[in-house]
Amino acid sequence: MRTDRFQHPDHYLMDELLTEEHKLIRDTVRAWVKKELSPIIEDYAQRAEFPKHIIRGLGEIGAFGPSLPAEYGCGGMDQISYGIIMQELERCDSGIRSTASVQGSLVMYPIYKYGSEEQRRKYLPKLASGEMMGCFGLTEPDHGSNPGGMTTNFKDMGDHYLLNGAKMWISNAPFADIAVVWAKNEAGKIHGLIVERGMEGFTTPETHNKWSLRASATGELVFDNVKVPKENLLPNISGLKGPMGCLDSARYGIAWGAIGAAMDCYDSALNYAKERVQFDKPIAAFQLTQKKLAEMLTEITKAQLLTWRLGVLKNEDRASTPQISMAKRNNVEMALHVAREARQIHGGMGITGEYPIMRHMMNLESVVTYEGTHDIHLLITGMDITGMPAFR
């Protein structure tokens, strides 16, 4: 594995929009990634294995819930810091960023936002350090883009709830200690429950043979008459807005993360184009290569500015779901496009594990699908513009 010499492009002097602390966080996470992750990621991805030993390190650099309050063992950082951490992780691999996104935005965030004080104190410090890992159960085999149609359900049995159903495409499921599960009660209202590994009837079979996010563990959550203690219900939320609030937070992180993947592809393509000689000159000297590189940098720059502005709005608690949706959709599609162009520039080498391009490209096929597909995000913007939902 070659030494990771990544440098981020900054065509519009974006760094001037960041605080010194933002830059310190970025440099810190980047240094950690270069030391701990870059040397091993290709091997783990090729073997389709999650590098579990990095979890504590992710906790130490603040990758788990960095913007939640320090009193729960979290970072107490702003939203731009959170975004920067996601960018730096996904610069290495979308699968690792997914692990952190799920833990921070889909497990810790709902416990913080919708949980009781006891639940916060019980789970958040351990989740922040990585001592405990979590996953998020919303998607079902027959309910992806339409989560409101979920069939997973729980019944009030007096001293406990009885949970039945199944969730699919769940990042971190195979090794998670807890799952934040969204299920309907007898009245058909959606609620969140914290299900712990070891509860009878709860299993997490792993999803094998993925061609994407291979360095991240994905699985199912199966609930067969699982007795869930009543104190494990998230008390302060009901309805679809619960999981959707989590998705807003995670999608925001993805918008930053996708820029990281795109930057890595661009950086690799630029260096390769300057070194690879054909017809007695570097391929970077040919017009069609320059066109690709110029367009890549332009799109990355646009995404950086869009996402920075979204971060400012998020810090002011003014970022709307459609605004977050637009950034997620735009940036992931941009990253996929950049990855494909970078693959072209790398020629045959671009398909090998010597370069990160195909890994990013395959990862991004998941990223463009999960947390709202590209098409669903178009419809969110469509509804925002017209006031008319076109989902069904």
Partner: protein
């Protein structure tokens, strides 16, 4: 122990070096600055020594202008307890050493650590000058330190081997690569760095012995010429007529 660590603020190793049109100044515009990598070793070692001793303080000191403060803040995030910036535009190694000596002389430090050299000007003078100015032992290019009571056991590289020596505290040491692995800050460190003290002090001695007259960039490297193993005569000819080394 009470340890002082000298921090130099240097251009990132990937920086393209250019000079002003009269070649008298280095163009700082657009340059990213980092903590001198050898100084990071000094900082990390200072923290490790105190951790091994079960306590102590580490002060990071820098002689330079306000633009170095992000890197002092980074030193605090890595684990230094406080930071001091002597507010001056340093002129040469003696200038830096005399400012640090002036600050350190009555503070009761057990040890001053710095990098073996800064990677921009590569002077490698500050440790030796500090020893002289403070009248302390000074040991360069240290690859190992252990401290027992008032005495340090040190190892340093010498030509073709290794020298093992002892020094009484307090002393000045300059740090070499093998000494330790530089520490990366963590989130808790970054949070704590926000509230750690960073003191700015006026320049005291203000003495330099040298001035930069002009800078010059090295001549661009000529391209490589490849010869077949059989072309010995051609090789000798080129070494004589083109490279002019024989």
């Amino acid at each position: 122990m009470k340890i002082l660590v000298c921090i130099s603020n240097v251009p990132d190793t990937t920086t393209k070096i250019t000079f002003s049109s009269d070649n008298k100044e280095f163009n700082k515009a657009g340059v990213q600055y980092i903590i001198n990598p050898y100084d990071e070793l000094a900082l990390t070692k200072a923290l490790e020594l105190n951790e091994a001793a079960g306590g102590g303080t580490v002060t990071a000191i820098h002689v330079g202008q306000a633009d170095a403060e992000p890197n002092l803040r980074k030193a605090l995030a890595v684990g230094a307890d406080d930071a001091v910036r002597i507010d001056a535009a340093p002129i040469d190694g003696f200038f830096v050493a005399s400012e640090i000596a002036h600050y350190a002389k009555d503070k009761g430090f057990d040890l001053i650590l710095c990098g073996r050299e800064s990677i921009d000007y590569n002077g490698g003078m500050v440790a030796g000058m500090l020893g002289e100015l403070l009248d302390w032992p000074s040991v360069n290019v240290i690859t190992s330190i252990s401290i027992n009571g008032g005495e340090a056991h040190l190892e340093r590289d010498i030509d073709g081997g290794r020298e093992v020596l002892t020094a009484k505290l307090p002393f000045v040491g300059s740090c070499q690569k093998e000494l330790t692995e530089p520490r990366i800050p963590n989130m808790r460190g970054i949070m704590m760095a926000r509230s750690k003290p960073l003191q700015v002090l006026p320049v005291a001695a203000n003495t330099a012995h040298t001035q930069v007259a002009t800078y010059a960039a090295p001549a661009p490297k000529a391209g490589c010429k490849f010869l077949e193993p059989t072309q010995v005569e051609e090789l000798v000819h080129l070494l004589h007529t083109e490279a002019k080394v024989i």
